[in-house]
Symmetry: C2
């Protein structure tokens, strides 16, 4: 039997994640700065154990049964309250629970993107969003970032141009706080300006916000959704980074009218999110487990970020630049243009025993070969320092190697 004849033309648009392919390669002696994998010591395992024990004693018939597609009612209410604490006006009816943010991205793409629709995104941006959107064949238009996040002046130019070209303008996808992959946050002024442009050009704004709950320094900037006057902002978040990714629980906050379509789409995709996982998040919110987590996460990841920044300072050769994230899990590295971080990866893994994600995969319009994403979330402080030392050796050696020798 020849499989090829059975595959949809859509499969040609799918790409295996480089992060994932990478993980397969990793030997025990390699230190990985690859995936944005939470530090398992941050998991409130004992509290979750108690929650599950209680829930399965007192309400097993609910916790093991089917639940509504939009999510367990009590959890939607609890999430609405959680959102209100962030300045977001939301009732339970504005919340839909998803199987992590990834499903939220999939459902949104399904509900709003037709082939050729223009979607504006930071460049580089989150790989999972590119993967979710790509299958629906939008025109993904990249907007570069500087130290204050997405360049709103460039966004405006691109909007203007796309409109002149007659493209259907649909949405701006943005990770405004501690962006993945750069760690950069969008400034307050730019947040307001972005929303003005969304208004002017009549666009939806998809705000992806996994990291703002544990910003290391200063106050977390207000979510775009809290500044949203006309209901154009669709807010996404997840329990993956603040509680535990193994639960696979995320949520969407938006206008009910849009959520009706999202729920209809979800019926066909996963029917509902794990009821058991929803009860864990529900009780973790109710019992203050999440609240207790946030300062701990701040502490754990700030220490690790500091270790990475210090090691970069100590080891990296001249001509290498990196971001200074105020939260999240990633540092973005830029090496001299002569180096290609994608083609250096096999050498990094085999000879230097260090893993990273080449930056090209995060770019929506090609390029970015001299960039890489470095995650400090999983390895120990010591391992981070050693990994950066190895990476710096790779870069130094490659910069000084005769052409074509790497």
């Amino acid at each position: 039997m020849e499989l090829k004849r059975f595959l949809s033309s859509r499969t040609a648009l799918m790409r295996a994640s480089q992060v994932r392919e990478l993980l397969k390669w990793i030997g025990r002696d390699v230190i990985s700065l690859g995936g944005g994998i939470p530090d398992p010591s941050s998991f409130p395992a004992q509290a979750i154990r108690e929650i599950l024990s209680d829930v399965l004693s007192s309400r097993p018939e609910a916790a093991l049964q089917y639940a509504p597609t939009e999510g367990v009612d009590e959890l939607r209410e609890e999430l609405a309250k959680f959102m209100q604490q962030r300045g977001i006006k939301a009732s339970a009816d504005n919340v839909v629970v998803t199987a992590g943010s990834q499903e939220a991205l999939e459902l949104l793409a399904r509900v709003i993107i037709d082939e050729g629709d223009a979607v504006f995104m930071e460049n580089p941006t989150y790989l999972g969003a590119i993967q979710a959107f790509r299958v629906y064949e939008p025109r993904m238009l990249g907007v570069p970032l500087d130290g204050e996040g997405m360049r709103i002046d460039v966004l405006e130019e691109k909007l203007k141009k796309a409109k002149e070209q007659g493209l259907r303008l649909k949405a701006i996808y943005v990770i405004p706080t501690c962006q993945n992959p750069t760690g950069i946050s969008l400034s307050g002024d730019r947040r307001r300006r972005l929303l003005e442009l969304a208004e002017e050009y009549d666009l939806l704004v998809i705000e992806d916000d996994p990291y703002s709950y544990f910003v290391f320094e200063g106050a977390s900037p207000p979510p775009l959704k809290s500044l949203d006057a006309s209901g154009r902002v669709i807010y996404l978040s997840t329990a993956s980074k603040m509680l535990a990714p193994g639960l696979r629980v995320g949520w969407l906050v938006a206008e009910e009218e849009l959520l009706d379509k999202v729920v209809m789409a979800k019926q066909a995709v996963t029917l509902q999110t794990s009821t058991l996982s929803q009860f864990v998040l529900l009780e973790a919110l109710r019992r203050g487990v999440v609240e207790k987590q946030l300062p701990r996460l701040k502490e754990i990841y700030r220490r690790k970020r500091d270790a990475m920044l210090e090691a970069l300072e100590d080891y990296m050769p001249g001509g290498v630049r990196w971001t200074r994230p105020s939260g999240g899990m990633f540092v973005w590295l830029e090496v001299p243009e002569a180096l290609n971080m994608s083609s250096l990866l096999p050498t990094a893994l085999r000879k230097y025993k260090v893993a990273y994600v080449p930056g090209a995969a995060f770019h929506v319009e090609g390029g970015g070969y001299n960039t890489a994403r470095l995650s400090y979330s999983y390895p120990s402080v010591e391992a981070i320092r050693e990994a950066i030392r190895r990476l710096a050796s790779l870069i130094s050696d490659s910069l000084h190697a005769p052409r074509g020798a790497s």
Copy 2:
């Protein structure tokens, strides 16, 4: 802001599930024969509680962390063994874990269906499959059932005709054992004949099998996958009916080459299935919890089926026919053609205080207005009897009412 302009043209293909809409209507005094909702007394809540307590003590870092997209390795191994007990040759590499069968259907549709591709299905068939497929715009061609399941002679005619019409023939979707919505099982001869036709016409076979693990009487017929010589059968099952639907864990068994594409698709859809839920199923298989469940489920649902069949016998007026399921959760009802079970539903809910799913939704080529799906899985034996009494009154009253009076 006008939402309409933002919606993809795809949203016009989405339909809210009637089962789901129905549930919203149900008052406390209504007995529902609607959803295929497991009897919560069947949940091994205490065993699951122990599993979670143990897992969160001994392996919290694994159970709460990200897991591979294809599923937790140990679970894939355990499921392969479970499959081998059913005569299916499979190794862990042939297994992908999904967020329930619904996601498996979504992923398969995504990976194999292009617009206009011919997919052959029992008519009536599982609503969730229709919903998953519809978005990808196949030609869904219905094949009627009789007491031995899908009419293979009609399938052959339809295959021949579709080929002559130049359609791209892609797959046969079939629920061979205790079909949803009819409860009918495909006979052994027809199973072999179906596979021969799949070979002759070069088609994939999607075998959806949630119910065969607890057939009430006699031996469960062999899964199509166990008879599959050329790797064309894609087998789907789920822990929803045999363990607990709130876990949202299902699995796919197929050739690795196809699964590579499924996994790539899953990365963009949900990234992975809840790790916590996967550990529950893993340990439930390892500790024999599933094995112990199966005879219990047989017992619970056989009693309920018997109650429904007895009540149908006792109360239904002449001219009403129903199936006698050998397992699963559903009886299929056919009333005289003069009655429309879709338009009778509001009266059923408001006046007769009984809920069912109108059969039209399960049909892929229209029609079926004089049919309904009755589920005996959730209500008590007493409630089942009372619900059938109410339903019989509705039907009798409507048959004898002057035209247009209902």
